[in-house]
Symmetry: D2
Subunit: 485 residues, 4 copies
């Protein structure tokens, strides 16, 4: 394979902005500097050469009520690449009682079709000695250092505080990082029943049943449990000020907690659920639901100040037909929206072009920070010699209006329909392969490979050191009871 | 019965400080003003004539592992009166599965020995249709408008989030006020097991197993659930900044939440558990445990600013012999300390004499605020014509050193042993009866009567009005699904 | 003068709600109870009998650029009484260099026309030995215990940090309470110049020049200075979350700080300044300017939680003609709006009817808390035997649409024009005189008397005690320098 | 000059930890990788190869009362290098009325003796058209992009709010970054006078006169002014929770504010001022003074969470003899302590060894973050090909007890005297020159060069874009006044 050279662009990383060419050989960056030559050239004049996006939170071909979410590893990763995202991290979801390793086989199967590299989080959907033991195998042999926990979806994926504490302690031992979907599942279930009983059965009922307070509470609870267990924590889809406040409060006490806003929550608001058209509203049903502008401001400020670190999509695409399972009962509307193709252009347009984020911060929150937190850096998330050539060449002048008609995703709508974005990939490279070439999609099914991730990151080790230093110690007594007995 | 006149004192209420005599007839205040005459006189020269203390949180003769807490309604109320407290509120604790009304009969029996007036909170220790129904009877017929919920004591008194939400909603309907003991019971139980396994079996293990974070979390959770249910909330024994912060945060969002620090947490700290003497430490075992100075500062500031409203004792006295059930296993040490006799003198000495609280604020937090929140005002908590003559005549120059040797409580130690207090009752009156007379105790067993308390206070009504105003409403749609179907 | 009896109403105070008649003789309440007789009767059936409103912040006949604000003590107090307000507190404003006592004479003259009782705050508009000395006279001989300080209006009323600190220390010595108008005058002046230079000369420029951050900063600064000086602090016209946050933060540290939202800021928002009509916008020009909905929510929550204590108007009415001094230069628009007649009905409608406030809280924030903080209680702010018969009999069913056409104020517009209010006085009594009689105004010019207010309230004394306890003390050294010299 | 190769070490940067050799030629890193050869080798076995420390805040040979601080550019930079610090940033301090450019010449002269590279901040100590104009020259021609402002030192360096606002606006235009020393100078001056008058003239009076509240206030004020001016802000020597809280609050609103704790404030506390020995206390006199443990915890948490970004020293060393100018009057004690040699070992010992910080975070806060914020990255603060070879090879097993006896600094004491540190340089390289060689100091006077720094960093540009987007715009009106005129 001949070398590829990205010519005349401006390299933009989480740290730096500078003019340089980038040379790629065998899927890896081999040289960065001025006036490189000796390979096929990609003209990046006027463009930013950035680490490809990493989406830390997607659900491709997710099993649901006997069917699957509509975007599988092929169409999902194709959508991602079209938008400049070159790595996705999916969630392996064991059924209650199922072996983690058995579940992982299923995910291994599905992911063979991926167009870009991918990794997995393992979900802890039940608890028992088998899970306890298999967690070690998953970490040591399967390249997975993150475990997802659902505090909602009562009766299905939800685990209780006992189980959270046990699993978080296990993560601490294994040097792994627990993730939580933070909503109080008990209260959500009760609210759902109450709303349905009162005749609130439309998609807006979904939002009513999961107010920000319910997310804030669970976030706060997960943080406390992680602190007791002595392990860092990653809170997925932080959508509101209440959850963000809990994260900030933890961080300002020195706790190691990460928060992940979604591009949807940053740019779309709750008014979508009040749309007269049922389909319009139902297509936006996801958990947590969209919030109001104040929550959006909170999330943006979190990215600016570093109290929130990454931007994801929770891409889980269902067709309108699938959404209509929930006609007459919002609790049956499949939860999830798309976003993989739109995350980078939307964030660039609403974040960088407005001055909220610097281009470097854009790279950090879409790629580098994620790679660091999940321990894929600098293989992923970097423009460095030796790093995988997962690269997006972003043309800041290229623009379009988002539309389902022109998207890669398999579904029939797009929640960002009509949004005008400016700042789009001229090229996307997946491990050196040019998969987006100036508007043309050249993905290759099965090109993607699994990215193994090691445990015991620096933050885990530091936290364990500190917790050991301040661990409870028995008081030495001169007799028990000592007083005259 | 001849009239009694308190002469030459300075009346101090939550609102006012002024010179006046107070005339009492048939247990009730009948006149307040200068130069009253026509009755037995009590010389209050140099003294403050204040509403008697109300302790909103006591456990007298509480059943525990086949025995009972050592202070019963006789000795407990005697201790209270000796220290200027003229009303206590105890907790009726149904066994799991037991009828609320059956449990109440037991409490009615025990309380016949009370030396001063008393009232009851009803505990919700399990959930079911019977409880749901009996709550109405308890409110409408039994004069109880407050329901206690334990978020800790897993396997015993603890209820889960489902049950909390159901009970809180029921409280909202009935115009009642829910109370919570806020600690995460799951985490406490896990921490206890872990500590014991690690050899931390001394009384300090009790403190280690219930850190401030665990209380803060549960407080935050209870607040969210009350908010969802649309009901005010009263958090008992708020002991730490974390719980206080949750309360402040709720209040600054307009939520109706009350916090109750204990005199122990205001004045004693965690170093007690590190005492070399096992008995010394074990006698201080209560939940939540004592905290450090920073938490104390937080609680004092809460009383000053109004984010915390009342001061209680959680008086639940166990003898050293009973405490020793827990030798070798701190989880078996009975939880609880005394305090009924010491609350007012300790708070006066450490609060008023230092300038942290005004004398009026002292009355508010020991009496008037409690009477208002629990709906006993102005029968209790007031120096007003028509109010019960529950009065403490506090001599600001009278002083002593607290000692178990001279206390009324039935136990053999006092957690405030050795504290020097200045500001003690010259007289205490219980519904007009002079039960403390210049150092002499003249209580009368059985003098105390039950105080019935009505539901639907102004705050409940206002909150319900607001919640109705902002209640979820279905979106009107033109067809479901409307879009082309 | 025959007795007056308010019959069949429900007495509502800051503490209590109960059915009773109220008897008035010689301007004072002489009896409260059922079935009173022996006097002229006022039928209060269906009504609430409440302490008349106290407005702690008005400017009547205020000197301004050679003219005066349009409502003087006659029309201003008439407006107040029409809306149920029975006491106003005005600000005596010495010119720079002028004797405080000379200025007070002018205010004494103007106030002879008052229809209701009134009191004064003294402003510290410059600093020097004369001011230092006269402050004592003002407190000891003139019945004034509050001193106002302007942190804005650079070049006119503004004092700097040095002067604030000196004056606050003087207040501490005298047992007085400092008040502040908190905006950073330097920054406001610079912003004004900048905006005018940029062509922003319309009334909206007024709002642009005084953003919430500028108020929050000054509030925070005043709090620090008061804390250093060891004196409580009262922040007038708290209009925004930033200032409220500073107050909350201070209070949660145990500091004694009060905040005063205005009815305007609670119910009107910044969109008024963007009105196409210049007059409309200019008529709303006041400092601080109206804010957005989030700030309003913050203020309401402050009243609910007690972090803000009182509601005022800053009534300072200028005619449209006067407002037009500022055509082409917003800095010349006279600052101020009306509100005296509307404060109670607006707060009842938007506060009590919505469920944000209880009726008792309404009384507290419009009357009783003010009387307590300013030391007029229980002469004012109470329905108690012996209290002045300043009473509003509020009919919760009486309604109207606010309009300049029907108002008492002398100006030609009303910032609440078109607002529908429900809850209006059936009767208002000023020291026993029925000045509003079922829609008819029966005020008597000159009826109002000055209300003297004593220093050294309980809060001042407690704070001084605490500050003395924690005062800096020199370290005892064995030689200076001790080390080998 | 032959190449130098650092062999067998572990490279630790702000991002990464990996085994590699580092090759240096002509003062620059030219290769990083395994098994490098072809040069003089430095054995880094068992060591961490890290970017040399950058101290963003030092005062070398600072003019003071007719004399100078004791460490000049020679001894000061020698001390820094001995402790692994390879770049210092000093403050050019014009006299009141002096030309910025004239002052700079003096600093240029003094710095010719530097052993390591250095840069300058320019102080704005007065305001006028000349300053306004020269700021541009300083930025465009002199390589300085940071301007320091003193909010304290009244009558000397202090500028008022007007001047701050003007200078901050000028910084915004020039793409520069303003710095502030944040204490309320008016209040400090008043407190000093008050304390002296009360007989508090010892060094503890210095601490009493500058409590945390005074620093918090000024920090908050500077933040507001920077926000109004639309410019980022850097707060030097953030020593307390109050200042940190103001910074956090600003950041969580999306403001661009940096905070700089000193190693002294992280590890030493206020008890030092209560030492019986006057000299001991006086030697610790600096502004802000040391605080208590709670403030320390706050600062550590800030470094962990990113709300504080860098660690400095404010190195300004005075001999005991100089300190004694203040015998009998603490206001005359020269302000300042040493720290240049000890910053890295102290932070490693108390930060990394305890688990509070990861090794990568250590690099970030001592070097990389500073280089980025001040715009020296990646020339400084990086182990990257092309970066200056400013490197510390830290041996985590090397230990010592800090003592004045063995220090490089010119003064006769050390505020860290007796602290045992583990983690010391085996080698320090300054632009390739080995200046510390396994315990031996091999510095070369005059080796250091000035580091020019460009304006208009990404954060400045983003903030300007945002401020332009939300800038005030005049309302279009149809006539002024429109209503009927
Ligand atoms: Zn989820
Ligand atoms: Zn998900
Ligand atoms: Zn309890
Ligand atoms: Zn209890
Ligand atoms: Zn004002
Ligand atoms: Zn005013
Ligand atoms: Zn400084
Ligand atoms: Zn300095």
């Amino acid at each position: 394979m001949p070398a590829t050279i990205i010519k005349n662009g401006t390299v933009v990383t989480a740290d730096l902005t500078y003019k340089a060419d980038v040379k790629i050989e065998n899927g890896v960056i081999t040289e960065i500097g001025p006036n490189l030559s000796g390979g096929d050239e990609l003209d990046a004049t006027g463009c930013y050469v950035m680490p490809g996006g990493i989406d830390p939170h997607v659900h491709l071909e997710m099993p649901f009520m006997g069917t699957y979410s509509a975007d599988d590893f092929e169409s999902g990763t194709r959508a991602g690449l079209a938008g400049g995202t070159t790595t996705v991290v999916d969630f392996c979801l064991p059924d209650p009682g199922q072996s983690l390793l058995d579940a992982l086989k299923r995910w291994d199967n599905k992911s063979t079709r991926a167009n870009c590299d991918y990794s997995f989080h393992m979900a802890i959907t039940w608890w028992g000695e088998q899970v306890f033991n298999e967690m070690e195998t998953v970490v040591r042999e399967k390249g997975i250092n993150t475990f997802k926990h659902f505090m909602a979806y009562k009766g299905a994926l939800m685990v209780n505080d006992d189980e959270l504490f046990a699993s978080f302690q296990r993560c601490a031992e294994l040097g792994a990082l627990p993730l939580v979907h933070a909503e109080n599942g008990d209260v959500v279930a009760s609210m759902q029943a109450k709303l349905l009983a009162e005749g609130n059965n439309g998609p807006e009922g979904h939002a009513y049943s999961r107010p920000a307070e319910v997310e804030g509470e669970a976030t706060n609870r997960a943080i406390m449990i992680a602190d007791m267990a002595g392990v860092p924590l990653y809170v997925v889809h932080t959508s509101c000020e209440q959850a963000h406040e809990a994260i900030r409060r933890a961080r300002q006490a020195g706790k190691r907690v990460y928060g992940e806003p979604l591009i949807q929550h940053l740019t779309l608001d709750e008014s979508e659920y009040f749309h007269k058209d049922w389909d319009h509203a139902a297509r936006r049903v996801m958990s947590p639901p969209f919030r109001n502008k104040q929550h959006q401001d909170s999330l943006w400020a979190g990215l600016q100040s570093g109290s929130l670190q990454v931007v994801a999509t929770d891409h889980c695409a269902f067709t309108t037909e699938q959404k209509r399972y929930g006609v007459g009962d919002f609790t049956k509307i499949p939860n999830g929206t798309g976003g993989l193709e739109d995350r980078l252009p939307m964030l660039w347009t609403y974040g960088v072009s407005t001055g909220r984020l610097t281009p470097n911060e854009f790279v950090a929150v879409t790629s580098t920070n994620i790679a660091k937190i999940l321990n894929m850096y600098p293989k992923k998330g970097a423009i460095l010699v030796g790093a995988d050539a997962d690269i997006v060449v972003l043309d800041p002048e290229k623009e379009k209006t988002i539309s389902a008609k022109t998207q890669q995703s398999a579904i029939d709508y797009n929640v960002f329909e009509g949004k005008h974005v400016k700042g789009l990939p001229r090229f996307t490279l997946s491990r050196g392969k040019v998969v987006v070439h100036d508007g043309e999609i050249r993905t290759e099914e099965g090109h993607g490979k699994f990215v193994a991730r090691e445990p015991f990151q620096a933050v885990n080790k530091a936290l364990s050191t500190w917790k050991e230093l301040v661990a409870p110690r028995p008081v030495e007594r001169t007799g028990i009871p000592a007083s005259g007995v």
